[in-house]
Point group: C2
Chain length 221, copies 2
């Protein structure tokens, strides 16, 4: 029969990955990496922490098997390790919203007033009919790293000046990093203030990709 020592070793090994999710800083890094691979420097800036600290957390994530690293000339680019890493992160995030009132509250606090959303099924149907314009309001690099098939890129901070690019007679659907990302909310508010009909996609790029929906580049990592 199998003994205690072996069982302990097994759970110990799994807990090594579990520890990766125990720090808010690391979760933020995971959230950023879910959009696109990035260098240490970019991640440090985006998460507003010191380079050394970022590097250490990334090494912890690497040891936990959650990210891959690749040297690129003078810098090092980190990326989420396979779909498993994304799966776990999204599962944890969704569970925390569902079960922890505090997360829900913090999310509402962060996102501001809710704007009307559209689900995946309906969007697909409307896209098929050519009925809506789909706009990716994330930064350029993230769009470049991957986006929903058929979306056009207008980063949030250019939205106001590029309003004319959007046909006035069609509804606009904006999406961004995911349900906790404020960009799409803000985009919809701006669009509505400009007299357009607009909604946000209730999910973001990582969820879309993980669901194996039509994407650019095609195919899932």
């Amino acid at each position: 029969m199998s003994g205690r020592a072996e069982k302990d070793a097994l759970f110990e090994a799994i807990a090594l990955m579990g520890k990766a999710f125990a720090s808010p800083r690391r979760l933020e890094l995971l959230d950023l990496l879910a959009q696109a691979p990035r260098t240490v420097d970019e991640l440090a800036k985006a998460s507003e922490q010191s380079m050394a600290n970022t590097s250490q957390h990334l090494q912890a994530l690497h040891a936990a098997g959650m990210v891959t690293r690749a040297r690129e000339g003078t810098s090092v680019r980190y990326a989420l390790a396979g779909h498993e890493a994304l799966t776990v992160w999204l599962a944890l995030r969704d569970a925390s919203v569902a079960r922890l009132a505090e997360v829900e509250r913090a999310a509402r606090e962060y996102l501001g007033e809710d704007v009307e959303a559209i689900g995946r099924e309906e969007l697909i149907e409307r896209l098929r009919r050519g009925d809506v314009v789909l706009v990716d309001v994330r930064p350029d690099e993230e769009f470049a790293a991957g986006h929903i098939d058929g979306a056009r890129s207008i980063p949030l901070d250019e939205l106001e000046e590029r309003l004319a690019e959007l046909p006035a007679d069609r509804e606009v659907v904006a999406y961004c990093r995911g349900p906790f990302c404020a960009y799409a909310h803000e985009a919809v508010r701006q669009l509505q203030a400009a007299g357009r009909t607009a909604r946000r996609l209730e999910e973001g790029w990582p969820e879309w990709r993980l669901a194996d929906q039509p994407s650019v580049p095609a195919g899932v990592a």
Copy 2:
């Protein structure tokens, strides 16, 4: 625009749930609860740790929204909190097997020599044809708390003496708690030693239930 403080609060709140997965003891408790709700006392015995320690970990899990508690006379029964908790735990477990060589190694070490397995699809087809006998080799209470529709219960430690209950002319499929559970492996070895044709189901009860397959009691929590 949304600020750093709000974002920090959000990730902090999610990390509260993440911390639940950072300790091997807690993971073991989650793994046990994935089979059936249990009292503190039962959990302490099953995981071979002190009552006080078990209680504390359970409280940590409770604070993280991973388990529910219910008073039952003199004792307190804990259960996994909804399908979200199970989803996250299974996602983490699977990711750790996929990405951490050490987990895979520890699992092989614990399980002993691998025995031939059968997948979900094939089992369903064979069950439909009435071609196999499906045996649940977990302890009675776990079978009682929920099992695959059509399975019969023969706890592993009764298997040898109850061999006669199994028709000799049909293949036997054994399943237990999941891919890390040694019971089904051991059952298949015993059955083969007794001259039967036997395989193990490559998943366990929690995976089956989460996939919304025919179960008793019907319907998922």
